[in-house]
Every structure is written in structure tokens, then in C-alpha cells.
Symmetry: C4
Subunit: 259 residues, 4 copies
């Protein structure tokens, strides 16, 4: 029976689709609940869906722990395989997405903490990653591009720090409320260098404007580097999967790969 | 005579140019009508152009249905070919761009509905697609890149959902009017992750700013993926059409085309 | 003497540098004049520089007309070569950059017209194009990429028209002052689809927000296409000029080109 | 002993890590100090860290000068090697990051000047460049791409000047406070053409909007060229380092490295 359950969880298409649907339903509920008039009128519906989801996810979690020692891919030791699952990325996601429901049953929390605990339902979105090929692709690309990402993220971080500190010293006196500390200046740096530019903070002094023009003109490219690397890695990967083609010389019939 | 009409519609350059011009004229009128002083003063002119356009497009539509069974490309069955045209993309565009004019003649509508019906005149812009090579190119590219687009649009959608939900929970209490529900938060996410950043909604709490800095720095690249794929596919296609180059096999010296 | 002058204008480094400097000086003056306190205090200095510049540019223009029939590159007909220069791009720039100074001497204008005429001094910046290699490179690239640019600009224009018209019909009633006509909606479209997003106009209705989210997510890539083509053509051209390298097979010594 | 010190400075991993840590600590202090409540409560802590850092950096600077004539890479002349270090980029950074602390001890400054002098502590962030591989990579790329950067920066500068001057003449009368001079118009140009678009300045006249739509649609690509060149050079370099791939000569079957 354990073997059967293992097959259901890891190879049964319908089980996958079912869990997938429950996750999507949870995300939709999370979005709809945020509309006050829907929450007030259909409070009970949301609650029932939540309870059922909790039951389903709990059963799924327990089942996954139970059958995890059947996983042939890892070496077949009862104990270590279960531990491995529990502390794996998805294992943690699985427990975190149900635990906040059970905690208040055992420990008496005040309402504010319960409110925050409910936020953890968001984590259920991440469970999609187990079933979605496209999110897996992104994951692989990020893993592959890690060294480049580390370098560029470091450069981006240095640049953000430098520009924040500079603009803070220049604009702090003119706008003590908006550039009250380097943290606030950091917010300006991010908004400027990602070119979002909400317009809630911007330099007003001549020196500040001059400086931020220089920062914007030179810095935007560097901040865009990490995302640019992911984008180009993604486009490259898709192209690679698609264009792996052989070329045959039409005169001597020899086949060879063309890049 | 039917054969002749078929030739006019599908092969006559002047007919194409004529319909093209009528479409362009319609678009110009649509734009000019939106200026109140022009609409008030030249109301009659716009009306006459509209009536004439309706007559032309109606004749075109009827003619297209009539001759559609002569289309040699599809198998030559009277009935099915006409049905095919009527339910094809351009067939629907053709009918939708004239129908709103005829509907009020048969069914009594109140003025509000008629106002909305007039909006469908916009659809006439899409008729350009039949004659414009560049719009056709875009269409082909989108069709070719569909698998990549599906993946990236899914990732973009998950990312938008995740960031909207997060920012909603963080900012809702501080700005209940601006982040009143996840739909509004979605609007913020789109404005931020496309880097438009109007500045009508932005986080004000420290946690919200920190979170949205992280979201902006990591997310912008993913949202730009679908458009990036279309752009690079377009540039690649244009390059491919242009640079069809000769390659010489280094072992036998024969020259042949690659790609 | 005419031959000598021809050599000075077309081959003398110092003459080129001199005219180049005068242009730069003019641009600097144009910028400085815009500062009221500088204009009030140094009005005379600006006037003297302007008079001297006019004299220099007039002499240059007359000299260029005089010697233009010596240009060996075109067939050597006195008359046609001069006409060719006068109606060439730079010929027109040369005359337009000095004419506004002479016009008021012959025709009595009112002050407002004279003010506008002064604007034509800006055209002098374009004279730099004759001497700057980088601007010439841009010119060549734009000429080479004209077919792609035409296609993408047309697509961009259709997209801007479509999104402007749509948002106008959706937002016009809610914000009659900001979306008063499709021209204003066009301004919104440009601000959104270039991701500038000043925040002076943005949709406020739910439908408008939904629509503009869709427009932004799908349209930004298309509007970026023309500039993307120029950018990639520029980067490609620079790379091509730099990387034209031969590869030698180390075992048989044969040299062949590697793309 | 001098030889030993030389080895410590240039080859000892722990010394490098130590200086690196002190720099990071200084940056963190600089950021934390900007928070008023932290500065008030932990003023003494910040002061002690500052004094210790000054002592460390001073010792480092003196040591570097002392041992700099042992550097074998340059020709071994006592005097010139020291001068070379002192006037090298990092030599200047080293002195500038400690000098502002010593200056007020010798010359009596008023408080405002001291405040400005404290700003020079920021320069210490730049000392990271000596130890960070990723910043060195950026440096190499910028050096390699200098000719392209010069061209594109020149084009960007011309474009900014042209658009600033144009918009100034068009908008100056309608918004004399926001477009008061071409300097202010320059600020608008940078905000628009980098697509940051804070929304503090934007055209309000019809002509101004039309003009700035044209400027935005055509100009954004050119302003993005310099940063685009750096980005693509960076991505290319990383790819090159990673993909050093084998190529097989198709005529003799020998494998060798390309690029």
C-alpha cells in the first residue's frame, strides 16, 4: 500500500493535477478575500475552502513523509531520507504552508500574531514550483548563472550603497524629511536605478540633480546586469533547446554540427 | 463576373490601396472626433464619412462572402469555405466593424448601449493587418515563439501575483485606500515591474519599501522576458532574412547556404 | 586661390577644428544665455560672440558655395554642383543657421517672430555632424537599418494609436480634463509604453487600470523595437569593426575566417 | 622585516581579509550614523570605530609607501616607485580616505568645512576595488570598451543638449519656474531619456508634449547605448570565460581552442 501511495504521489498525473488545482484555488481565494465586500459576504465559503485545503495539504505532507524513504534516487536508508525530505526546500514549504493553522490550537496567541500567521498561506503559491516546468527552468537558469549573478549583484549593491550615501549627504539638509537617513536614500536609489521613478523622492538641489543625473546615466546599466544575465540565459536556453540542428554538406554528404 | 470580383479582391493592387485608405481615413476620423470642437463643428462631415465607410465595408464583406468559395487554396466546397471565412479572424473583424451600425436599426437600444457600440469602430484598425506586411511579421513571430511566450507569461503572472499579495498584506493597514485589495496591489505591481512607475501608488512603510526594492531589483527582468523574447525574435528574423549567407565546406570547398 | 580655399575647407585640419570650436562655443552660449542672471549681466558678451559667429558662418557658407564646383567626386559641372550643395542636407543646415539673423534686416518683423527666429540658432548644433565621426556612424546605421526601422515604427505607431483610442474611450468620462481627446491619450500612451511614466496622467477606473496593465505588459516590447534595432545595429557594427579576425588551424597551418 | 611586511600586504590572505572587513565595517557605520536615533545614542561607538579605522588605514598607508619600492613588477628605483604609488589611483584613494581626519588638527576650519570633510570617508568604499574581483572585471571592461563608450557618450551628450535646448524654448514661457534655464531642462531630459520619469518636471503645452513624445520615442535607445555596451561587454566576457570551447578542424580532425 505504501508502494502504491508512492506511485500516486510521484507518478500519478491526476494526483498532480488535483494538488495543482487546490493550490490555484487557494491563490484565487487569497486574492478574492482581499476584497472587503467579498470577504464580508462570503466569509463562510472562504473558511470552508481553507479548512478543506488544510486537510488536503496535511494529508499530502504526512503521506510524503511516510513514503519519502521509498525514494530510490537517494540511498535507501529509512531515517535519513525522511529527514532529507523534511529539511528540503519543498519539505519546508509544505510544513510552513499548513503549520500556521495548527499553531494557535496549541499555543494561545493574541489576534495580531494570528493575523501575521495567516500571511504564511502565501507560501502555498511556492508549492506550484514542484509541478510547473517553467518555474523549474527558471530555477535551473538561476543555479547555472550563479557565479555571474553573485558578481553582478555585488556590483549592484556597491553602486546602490555609494549612490545612496552620496545623495544622502547632498540632499539631507534640503529635504530632511525625505532623505532622513541612508535607508531612505537607498529607496531613492532603487527607484532611480531601476528607472521605476515613482516621484515620491527626488533631488531638489542643483548639486543633487547634477549628481543624480550622473548616477542615473552611468548606473542604470549596472543595476540591470543581474536581470539582464537571467534574461539572456533564459533566451539562450530556449534557443539552444530549439536550434540543436545538424547541417549536411550537400556535395559530400557529410553531416556536422553548425553552431 | 464572380471570378472577376475574386481577382479584384485578392489580386488587384488598387482595390487593396482603396480599402487601406478608407481604413486609415476611419482611424483619422476616430482620432479627430475625440476633439470636442472638431466634433461640434464638423459633425456632419464625420457622419457622412461614417455612412460611406459603412457602405464600402458592407459591400466588401458581402463580396468577400460571395467569392470566398472560389478560394483555390482551400478544398473547393461551396458551403464550408464561406463558413470558414465568416468564422476566420478577419471574417469576424469584418463583421464586428460594421455590425454595430446596423444593430440599432433592428433592435431598440438605449443611448448608453449605442455609445458603447460605437466603440467597435476601433476594430476597423485591425483590418489593416490584412494589408500590412509588418503586422503579419509580428503575427508570425508571436506564433513561432508561442511556447517560450507561454512559459514566460506564466512566470510573469506568478511573479505579479506573489508581489501583489505580499505588498497588499504589508501596505494595506498603512494605506487602506491605495492598497484596498489585491487588485489594486496588482496595479502597483504592473506599474513597478514594467518600470513605468506613475507614482499614484507606492509603498510608504519601511517594510513595504524594503520589500518593493527587493521585488523591483529581482522581478523587473522576469516581467521583461516575454517582450524581450518577441523583440529578440523580431531582430533575429530580420537579420536572418538579410544575412542568408554562404558557407564553404572546408573539406571539399563547395559553397552552400546555411540557414 | 579657389583651389587653395577648397583645400582649406575640405582637407585642412585646423580649419575643421576652428569651425568645430565656433560651433561648440555657440552651443555653450545658447545654454548659458538661458540663465537669466547671466543673460542680464553678460548680454553684450553674448551679442558679440553671436555677431562674430554669424560673420564666420556666413564666410564659410559663401566659401563653400564658391568652391563646391571644384568637388571632383561629383561630375564637374559648375552650376549643378553648387545647386547640389545648396540643397544638400548640410547646405540647408548652413543657411538656416545664419538666415534668421539677416531676415529682420530686410523684412520688418514684430518681436515675437524675431524671438522664434532666434530659435533657429539651435540648428548650428547639427553642423557638428559634418565633423563628428560618431554622429556619422549613427547616420550610417540608421540608413542601413531603414527597412527594419520602417516596419517597427509602423507597428509602434499602430500600437500607440490603438492604445490611445482604447484608453480614451474608457477613461474619458472619469477624467474628462486629463483624457480630453485622443491626442492627450496619445501622450499617456507614449509616457506608459516608453516606461517614462511621469505620473501626470494615469487611469483611475478599474477597467482603465486593467486595460493599461495589459497594454503595458504587452506593448512595451514593441515600442522598444525601433530603438532596440538601432542599439543592436550599433553594437554589432562596433563589434564587426573590431573582431574581424583570422583563425589558424594549429595542426595543418591553414587559415580560415571564423565568424 | 620590510620584505616580510611587503609579503603581508601583497600576499597574505588574512591581511587582505582584515582590511576588507574594516572597510565594510566603515561602510556599515556610515549608513547607521545617518539614522539620527542611532547617532545620538551610540555616538561614542561610532567615534571609537572611526578612530581605530583611521589608525589602521594610516598604518596601512605608511606601510604601503614604505614597501612600495620593493614592487618587482616596476623597475626597482626607490624613489620613482614610491612616487608612482602615491600618485596612483589607489594611492590617492588611500590618502583621501584618511586626510580629512588630520587636516582639522593642523588648520583651524569652521564647522561647515569639517562637515564637508567628513564626506570624504565615503572614498573608503572605493578601497574595496583593490580586493574585489568583480569590480576589477568592471574596470577591465570599461577600459576595453573605451572607444565605443566615448562615441556613444558623445552622441548621448549631444542628444541631451539638443533635447534640453528645444524643450527649454518650447516650455519656458508656460512653466518659467520648472524650465527656468537649460540646466533645469537638462534635468528633465535625463529623467525622460533614462525613462526614470519622476514626474517633478514634464511638458504641459501641446507642442511640448508632442516634442517630448518624439524625443522619448527616438532618444531613449541612444541614451541607453553606453550602458548597453557595458552590459553586453560584461555578459560577453563572462560567456567567453565560461565557454572556451573546442573546435574540430573538419579537414584534418584535429581539435583546438577557438577564441
Amino acid at each position: 500500500m505504501k508502494q502504491k501511495l508512492y506511485h500516486i504521489i510521484y507518478q500519478n498525473e491526476n494526483f498532480t493535477k488535483f494538488i495543482y488545482s487546490v493550490i490555484i484555488l487557494n491563490v484565487i481565494c487569497l486574492i478574492l478575500e482581499s476584497y472587503k465586500f467579498l470577504y464580508v459576504n462570503y466569509h463562510r465559503v472562504f473558511m470552508i475552502i481553507e479548512y478543506i485545503s488544510i486537510i488536503i495539504f496535511t494529508i499530502e505532507y504526512v503521506a510524503r513523509i511516510w513514503v519519502s524513504n521509498l525514494d530510490k534516487r537517494k540511498d535507501n536508508q529509512n531515517y535519513s531520507n525522511r529527514i532529507q525530505y523534511i529539511f528540503s526546500g519543498y519539505g519546508i514549504i509544505d510544513i510552513v504552508s499548513i503549520l500556521p493553522f495548527y499553531l494557535p490550537l496549541f499555543i494561545p496567541f493574541d489576534l495580531r500574531v494570528i493575523r501575521i500567521l495567516r500571511l504564511f498561506r502565501l507560501v502555498r503559491i511556492l508549492k506550484i514550483g514542484r509541478y510547473s516546468k517553467s518555474i523549474k527552468t527558471i530555477g535551473i537558469i538561476i543555479k547555472e548563472a550563479r557565479p555571474e549573478l553573485t558578481i553582478t549583484l555585488f556590483v549592484a549593491f556597491i553602486l546602490l550603497t555609494l549612490s545612496s550615501t552620496l545623495i544622502f549627504y547632498v540632499e539631507n539638509q534640503a529635504q530632511p524629511d525625505k532623505f532622513s537617513n541612508i535607508g531612505e536614500a537607498f529607496w531613492w536609489s532603487v527607484a532611480t536605478l531601476t528607472t521605476v521613478g515613482y516621484g515620491d523622492v527626488y533631488p531638489v538641489t542643483s548639486l543633487g540633480k547634477f549628481l543624480s543625473a550622473i548616477i542615473a546615466l552611468t548606473g542604470i546599466g549596472f543595476i540591470a546586469l543581474p536581470t539582464g544575465i537571467i534574461s539572456s540565459a533564459f533566451i539562450e536556453k530556449v534557443k539552444r533547446d530549439k536550434e540543436e540542428k545538424l547541417c549536411t554538406c550537400p556535395s559530400c554528404g557529410e553531416a556536422f554540427n553548425v553552431e
